[in-house]
Symmetry: C3
Subunit: 204 residues, 3 copies
């Protein structure tokens, strides 16, 4: 289980760094700017989770995460530079990073003895904060606030399912895979079919 979490975490870092670079690339930033946006996207969510839990920040104690994030930004920078990419391409890795980080974050919070509702919220935070940072640094409206795309909703559904399955006695590994599938499924379905939640609106 710890092994699965470790590799899922590293994959999420690489995938999120990739989305950061793809997004920064549309803003004509220089190399260091791209590296900063990529690293913030890759490490931001887990950092907020660890600070809230009072846990040592994951990339401070283990340098591997930072190296993976920086190496990914460098490789993507030089490979993708000059290519012309379809603007919505990065939505797929973004959904994958959301699913990976949400599940890893929820499991870590549970292992750190957070109450169950708090653990699901910390999972969502781990999943979405990196992308919010990326969008803010690139001066775009955060994806999470775009109506009709069920971004945080997908993450929360997956985290709640994971916690419920574990409470029912399902093994953590199976619960993790189920949670990831739900996050990805809801997010991709929402993009494909433009699903929406009820909207609040004062009568005008």
């Amino acid at each position: 289980m710890d092994n699965l979490l470790y590799w899922a975490g590293l994959s999420a870092v690489a995938v999120n760094a990739l989305t950061g670079v793809l997004d920064a690339g549309r803003k004509r930033m220089d190399l260091i700017g791209v590296m900063m946006v990529g690293s913030a996207t890759a490490l931001g969510g887990g950092t907020v989770r660890d600070v809230l839990l009072g846990r040592p920040v994951f990339w401070i104690s283990d340098q591997v995460y930072l190296i993976v994030a920086l190496a990914t930004t460098l490789v993507v920078f030089f490979v993708v530079r000059g290519l012309r990419l379809p603007p919505r391409l990065f939505l797929i890795p973004d959904a994958l990073g959301l699913a990976l980080f949400t599940v890893v974050g929820t499991q870590i919070a549970l292992a750190w003895q957070a109450p169950w509702l708090v653990a699901t919220l910390l999972g969502v935070i781990t999943g979405v904060v990196g992308g919010v940072l990326r969008d803010v640094l690139c001066n775009e409206v955060p994806l999470i606030f775009v109506r009709g795309e069920l971004y945080a909703t997908a993450a929360w559904a997956g985290a709640l399912a994971l916690v419920a399955l574990q409470a029912l006695g399902v093994s953590p590994v199976v619960a993790a895979w189920a949670g990831m599938t739900i996050v990805l499924g809801v997010r991709l379905a929402a993009m494909a079919f433009r699903l929406t939640l009820p909207t609040y609106s004062e009568r005008q």
Copy 2:
């Protein structure tokens, strides 16, 4: 005293969640967006205070705060939805939340052995950060930066009075009520009479 702080804290969470929902309601967010803005408004100030103090974050160890915040946003969402509210209505609960949080934050910082000047600043941070988050997430100019409304000033005056009274031997409970009254009084007077502080301006 601990009891008073606990209930004042819960009330402040509910009141701030309410202002978050009222504000988000003007932006046509969906249900999850409103819940996120409401919770961030309710829990943001105390979270920053606890992280700065190196104290366990209050809503992580005690799930009740998170439940109160989420339940308030849900109730307000379904009750207020479709009503037409006067745009400045939420300024009253906002002032109340500012007063409650400032006093609770200052007392907690003093109990955690922060030096007195630091404690007043942590009180101000507890009071204002939630509202700043709300305004940033709703893409408005933070109230705190609107000149002529003595927002942070009201909070700081109350926190300084609280610390001064306790240093003079007044009981913490009386000092808390006095501090709250001062925050509310300065803030409401500033709104009513458009009081201002001296402004910095370079000669043009």
Copy 3:
């Protein structure tokens, strides 16, 4: 060495508070607004470093930093108020604050057993976060994202040099001076000669 770090830290706080006030002054904020922007600029970088390291936040345990920050903003507010200053004047103290904070931050992270690459990044964070906060609060594009001015690049070059020199056996004090000189030199040269890094751009 500890003594040098302490005084370098206090100087950096004062210098950064100065740049915060100069910047806020162009926005017609009131006295409290200016004090908040000045303090956030002065204390923001070190705060993020300490929270990430899980170290007690420097200005919470030692009130002197906060007093220096607030006193500097007050003095600058009343001295500079009404003067007409050249708009780019504050770039020099800004570069000095960047150099001081980067070196202090890197040394503190090394002393706290952070891995070397993490330590250089924490040095950059200590150096740049205050200025980013200042620019965001004053509603300007952060200097760090202005292309062609090698802002974070200068800080990172200095931090890497410092770590490399110490690994080669150079004394921490000499390494600190060398690091500071490199940050200042790169930053001032970049401003004078408009040096740039390669830019990422998709083919349009």
